[in-house]
Each structure stands twice: as structure tokens, then as C-alpha cells.
């Protein structure tokens, strides 16, 4: 046990407690509350009925009014804690409510109806999960098809992004050629074009290529992301050139240098980009919405948004499906983040 304590309290290198450790743990715990708290709440909310979602003040967990079958009544009755005139309180079932007066009965003595002002009663509630938020969409919503489309788009786009971006980043970080700075500038420069701005021209381009209503129309415009090139290039700058020289001496072609030396060494940055790409493509909404108008081709996010109407949004479904659609990306993240480890490029040197 003391071993655990020592482990918990150790700082870099295993020496005694340092003020930075205090800061670290405060930060982490604070982070847990702030970053993760809303998530917990999101998951909790995804199990709420529409009525509970609209309820003030909100609760962390989904609650439903407790009901009870009482002899003599067909339907189960809702239970309330009633404050009786004598000051005591008691659990009673509501038979009906007329205006501000409720007719209540004691479940143990279902005969006598007692009239109670509704201000004097509180519903008895228990945690209840509205699992239909999850099950309903699976029935009405072509979940598996959307999932397949999403997976296809995400996987393809990520692979192509990683490949083309890393190739470009390699060229921009390890070769000296005329126009390099200009190319870099061009790429970084276009980083700032928000999609919404070029939406219409892009639509014309995609349509000119006959890519409307095609998953490739979703994939291709997103893969040349300047962010990726920029990110990878900056990382590749830190790979020692000697390593490349050594490979050249080893008869490696430039492709092999890229593929076998630079790519593995850039693994941390690639992992970061892969995570981003997966998250982005998975969550992409606006662009697929523009390109895809047939439901066979919908991705999950687009499908999900059919719950957003003009006057009404069916948040209970959207939340539940958000939770479901998040699971794969969380898994991808957990898998890929392991590659964000110490840069090892230096360890091959003196």
C-alpha cells in the first residue's frame, strides 16, 4: 500500500514531493471535473426522455417518476410524497389531478380519496434509463448502413490524408528546392479558408467531377488538409538529416527513405494527425450534407441530423446517437495515442 502511495506521490525521477506535483494533481483533478464532467452529464442525459431533457433544473442522472399498481385502478399510478396538513409526510398515489387539486390515495388503503393541493406534493422519483433513445433509432434509422458509410469515409480519408500529407511534408522539410517557401505559404495560407466560404464553388467543382452523391465526393476535398502538411512538416524538421544520409549510403531510394525512415520516425506526429483526421472525418457534417442527398450514402452524422427539424429537435435521439457514434472514435484515440511517445530520432545518434 505504501508502495502505491509512493508511486502516486512520486515526481519525475522519484524524489520527494515538489510544488510542481501539487500543481500537476490540482490541474489533473480540475481537468477531470471540467473536461469529463460534461461528458458524464452527456451520457446521463442521453438516457433521459424528452420531458426530462427539457426539465429545469437539470439533473445529472435520468430520473423517472415512480409508479405503482394499485388495486382497483387499471393503470399504474404515480407516487408522490405528500405533506399532510398535520405536518407529516406520506407516500401516496395520484388518481387524477383537477387543476391545482390532486386526488390522492394511500396505496395501503386505496379506498379513501384525499384531496391535496399540488403545491404540497413532490413526485417520488427513481433513476430510470430511457433506453428507447438508443433502441428506437436502431429500428427506424439505418444505423448499420450509416455506420458502414462513416467507417469507409473515415478510413479512406484518413489513409489518403496520412499518405499525401506526409509525402508533401517530407518534400517540404527534407528537400531544398526553389519555391519551397512559396508552396509552404500557399498551403498555410489556405488553412484559413473556412469551408462555409468555399462551399458553393467547391460544390460546383465536385459536381463537375461527377462526385455528387458519392462517398468519394465527401472524401477527396477533405484529404489535402493543410493542417496535416503543416503539422507533419514541423515535426519532420526535427528528424536529423544524418539519418537520411545514412540511408542514402545504404542504397535506399528516396521513396524508401520516406517510407522506411522518415515515416516511422514521424510516428508521433502521424498518430496525432491520424487521431485528428479520424475525429474530423467522423464528425464531418456540413460537407457530407452538401454532397450526399441520398440516404443510402448517409454517414452517421448526416443521418443523425435528420432528428433536427425546423421547429423541433429531437435531442433525446441525437444525444443517444452521439454517445453511440463517439464510441468508435474514443477507441481509435485510445489505440493511437500510444504512439505519441518520446521522439526516438535522437537515440540513434551519439
Amino acid at each position: 500500500m505504501s508502495g502505491v502511495a509512493a508511486f502516486l506521490t512520486r515526481r519525475r525521477g522519484g524524489r520527494s514531493w515538489h510544488w510542481t506535483d501539487t500543481v500537476t494533481w490540482l490541474w489533473l483533478v480540475g481537468g477531470l471535473v471540467i473536461m469529463f464532467g460534461p461528458a458524464v452529464w452527456l451520457v446521463g442525459s442521453s438516457f433521459k426522455t424528452p420531458a426530462q431533457l427539457a426539465e429545469f433544473p437539470p439533473t445529472i442522472l435520468p430520473y423517472v417518476g415512480q409508479q405503482m399498481s394499485v388495486e382497483g385502478y387499471d393503470k399504474p399510478l404515480t407516487l408522490y410524497t405528500v405533506k399532510l396538513p398535520d405536518g407529516s409526510s406520506k407516500v401516496m398515489a395520484e388518481v387524477r389531478r383537477i387543476g391545482i387539486v390532486a386526488q390522492m390515495i394511500d396505496p395501503k388503503a386505496p379506498k379513501d380519496i384525499i384531496k391535496v393541493n399540488i403545491a404540497d406534493r413532490q413526485p417520488v422519483r427513481e433513476i430510470g434509463f430511457a433506453t428507447e433513445n438508443y433502441t428506437e433509432p436502431f429500428v427506424h434509422f439505418d444505423f448499420l448502413r450509416y455506420l458502414r458509410n462513416s467507417v469507409f469515409v473515415t478510413a479512406m480519408a484518413t489513409l489518403i490524408t496520412l499518405l499525401t500529407n506526409s509525402m508533401a511534408a517530407f518534400a517540404l522539410s527534407k528537400y531544398k528546392f526553389r519555391g519551397r517557401d512559396f508552396t509552404m505559404l500557399l498551403i498555410v495560407g489556405t488553412l484559413m479558408v473556412p469551408l462555409s466560404v468555399i462551399l458553393v464553388p467547391l460544390y460546383s467543382v465536385v459536381s463537375a467531377f461527377g462526385l455528387l452523391d458519392s462517398l468519394w465526393g465527401v472524401i477527396l476535398p477533405t484529404v489535402a488538409t493543410p493542417t496535416g502538411v503543416f503539422l507533419l512538416r514541423q515535426y519532420m524538421l526535427t528528424i536529423p538529416d544524418e539519418m537520411l544520409d545514412a540511408a542514402r549510403m545504404d542504397n535506399a531510394s528516396e521513396w524508401q527513405i520516406y517510407w522506411r525512415i522518415v515515416l516511422p520516425l514521424a510516428a508521433p506526429a502521424l498518430a496525432v494527425l491520424a487521431i485528428f483526421s479520424v475525429v474530423w472525418r467522423w464528425n464531418d457534417f456540413l460537407w457530407p450534407l452538401v454532397v450526399l442527398s441520398r440516404k443510402e450514402l448517409y454517414t452517421l452524422q448526416v443521418g443523425l441530423n435528420t432528428y433536427a427539424g425546423e421547429l423541433n429537435v429531437q435531442w433525446h435521439y441525437i444525444l443517444a446517437m452521439t454517445v453511440v457514434t463517439m464510441i468508435p472514435v474514443v477507441l481509435v484515440f485510445v489505440f493511437l495515442q500510444r504512439y505519441i511517445t518520446s521522439g526516438i530520432a535522437g537515440t540513434g545518434l551519439k
Binding site: 489533473l28 452527456l42 442525459s45 473556412p194 467531377f209 489535402a224 495515442q337 530520432a345
Partner: protein, 299 residues
């Protein structure tokens, strides 16, 4: 050789980014509600004139497109505060996650988690937390505080917009910085430790300069994305109270797409003006960064 490696990316990039961008320029020189260039009428620089028509750029009320300038002002302030806060918070988190803490992957996931949420859901969660009868007020109330209407108060709505966008995106930048931190050779820290360097000084003199290339990525991306901030704030505050959190992209979106009588020409012109400002900002940063990069050159 360089051309070979650049080709695939540049081809896709050219077709799907550059070409639309160029088309966009043509848009800004036309007017009408039609979406396709051939259906639109050429007006030259009229859209720009309209946007820039202002007798005092500091007083938005004097501008013809007062909402545009309102959005410009708001965005300017937002970008400064948000980028600064985002950078600092991501940096702090990255530094902490870079330490040898137990459950490193768990903590990474915690801080990265919000990035996984779609902006709409992010905005929504926080609106539910911050609204008059939201979770926050409930907590404040439970602790005996005075509940506050966070989203209808100018200051708090702005604070909320900044904080929520930081909340939503910091995981992204933390990850970039983390990868950069891990690439700094360990022996340099050891050398610094032997040199008796205090932690703060290690940060300023060793970590920060060596992290410069990555920090540059972070600042450039953060800045660009801050200027483009939209979905989460749109859902959270809708630009309110009044127009105090109305940002450029929302303005462009509304005139270009959302309203029933759209004006794509004006939207294009506004976005090009915004792009120009960004190009200038980025150039400045890259210039500064290049100096830093040279500094960070490996031994």
C-alpha cells in the same frame, strides 16, 4: 524528387481548395441570390465598397454594414483572448501530461475527450449548463451563491464563448504540443538539471525554444480556427446577447446561406477580406516562427 512527393497532395489541394478559392473571388464581384456564377451579374468591387463603407471604423453604428463591423470587432477581441488562453492552457496541460504521472493514457483521454464531440453537441451541453436554469446555476445555488443569467450578460457570454471554445479545442493543441515535447531529447533536460536550472527556467530557456516549431503550429492553427469560430458559439449564445458574440463566420453564414434571401456575393467579399487579414497575420507569425525555428535547429 520533391515534385514527386508533393504531386498527390498538391493535385488534390489544387482541385479542391485552390480552384474553389479562385472561383470565390469571382463570386465577390457579382451580385444576386443565385448560386451559380453564370446566373449572377457582375458588379465589380461594389460588394467590397459596401462592406468598407464606414465613416468611423471604431464606431460600428456609422458603418453601412454595421453588423459586419460589429462581427469584426467581436472577432478581433475573441481571437486575442481565446488564442492566448488556448495556448497557455494547452501548454500547461501538455507539460503536465508529459510528466511521469500514473495513468498517462487515461489523463490524455480526459483532456482530449471534448475534441471528439461535434461542435453542435458541445454548444448544446454548455448551453444547458450555463442557461438561466442550468447546471451551473444549480451548483451555484447549492453552494449558497447567487445564480446568474450567464448567457444574457455581455461579459459572461463572451467569457463563456471563449471558455467553451477553449474547452472544446484544447485537447487538439495539447496533443500537438505533447508530441513536440516528447521529441525534445531527454539528455538536454538532464544537462539542464546538472546546470542547476529551476523548473521555470528550464521551461523558458529549454522547453519553449525547442518547442518553437510545434508552438508555431499551435498558434497558427489556433488563430485561424479562432477567426473561423462558429458552430459551438452559434449554438451556445447564438451571437447574443444582442450582437456581442456575433463573429465573422456567423455573419458570413447568415448572409450567405442561412437567411432565405441570401447574398453569396457579399458573403464571399466578407470572407475574402477576412482571409486577407489572416494571410497577413500568418505571414507575420511565420516570419517570427522562422526565426524561432532556426533557433530550434537540432545540434
Amino acid at each position: 524528387m520533391a515534385a514527386f512527393f508533393l504531386a498527390p497532395n498538391m493535385a488534390i489541394f489544387g482541385i479542391f481548395v485552390l480552384v474553389p478559392l479562385v472561383i470565390n473571388f469571382f463570386y465577390s464581384a457579382t451580385s444576386g441570390t443565385a448560386y451559380f456564377l453564370q446566373d449572377r451579374s457582375y458588379v465589380g468591387l461594389e460588394q467590397y465598397q459596401r462592406l468598407l463603407d464606414c465613416s468611423n471604423y471604431l464606431d460600428t453604428a456609422t458603418c453601412r454594414e454595421d453588423l459586419f463591423w460589429k462581427a469584426v470587432h467581436n472577432t478581433g477581441l475573441f481571437v486575442i483572448v481565446q488564442v492566448a488562453l488556448l495556448t497557455v492552457v494547452s501548454m500547461a496541460t501538455a507539460l503536465i501530461l508529459n510528466r511521469e504521472i500514473i495513468g498517462r493514457s487515461f489523463w490524455r483521454a480526459v483532456f482530449f475527450f471534448p475534441v471528439l464531440l461535434s461542435p453542435v453537441v458541445t454548444g448544446l451541453i454548455w448551453r444547458w449548463i450555463l442557461q438561466r436554469q442550468g447546471l451551473l446555476n444549480m451548483i451555484v445555488h447549492d453552494f449558497g451563491g447567487e445564480p446568474h443569467n450567464w448567457l444574457t450578460d455581455r461579459f459572461w457570454a463572451f467569457t463563456a464563448a471563449v471558455s467553451v471554445s477553449v474547452w472544446a479545442h484544447m485537447g487538439f493543441y495539447t496533443l500537438i504540443l505533447l508530441a513536440g515535447l516528447q521529441a525534445i531529447p531527454r539528455d538536454l533536460y538532464e544537462a539542464a538539471e546538472m546546470d542547476g536550472t529551476r523548473p521555470a527556467r528550464v521551461f523558458w530557456r529549454i522547453t519553449l525554444p525547442l518547442l518553437m516549431p510545434n508552438l508555431l503550429v499551435v498558434i497558427v492553427l489556433a488563430l485561424i480556427r479562432a477567426v473561423q469560430i462558429f458552430d459551438e458559439v452559434y449554438v451556445l449564445t447564438g451571437g447574443g446577447p444582442g450582437t456581442s458574440t456575433l463573429y465573422l463566420t456567423q455573419y458570413i453564414y447568415e448572409i450567405g446561406f442561412a437567411s432565405l434571401l441570401r447574398n453569396p456575393g457579399l458573403a464571399s467579399a466578407a470572407s475574402i477580406l477576412m482571409g486577407l487579414v489572416l494571410v497577413v497575420l500568418t505571414l507575420v507569425q511565420l516570419q517570427v516562427g522562422r526565426r524561432g525555428e532556426r533557433k530550434g535547429a537540432r545540434q
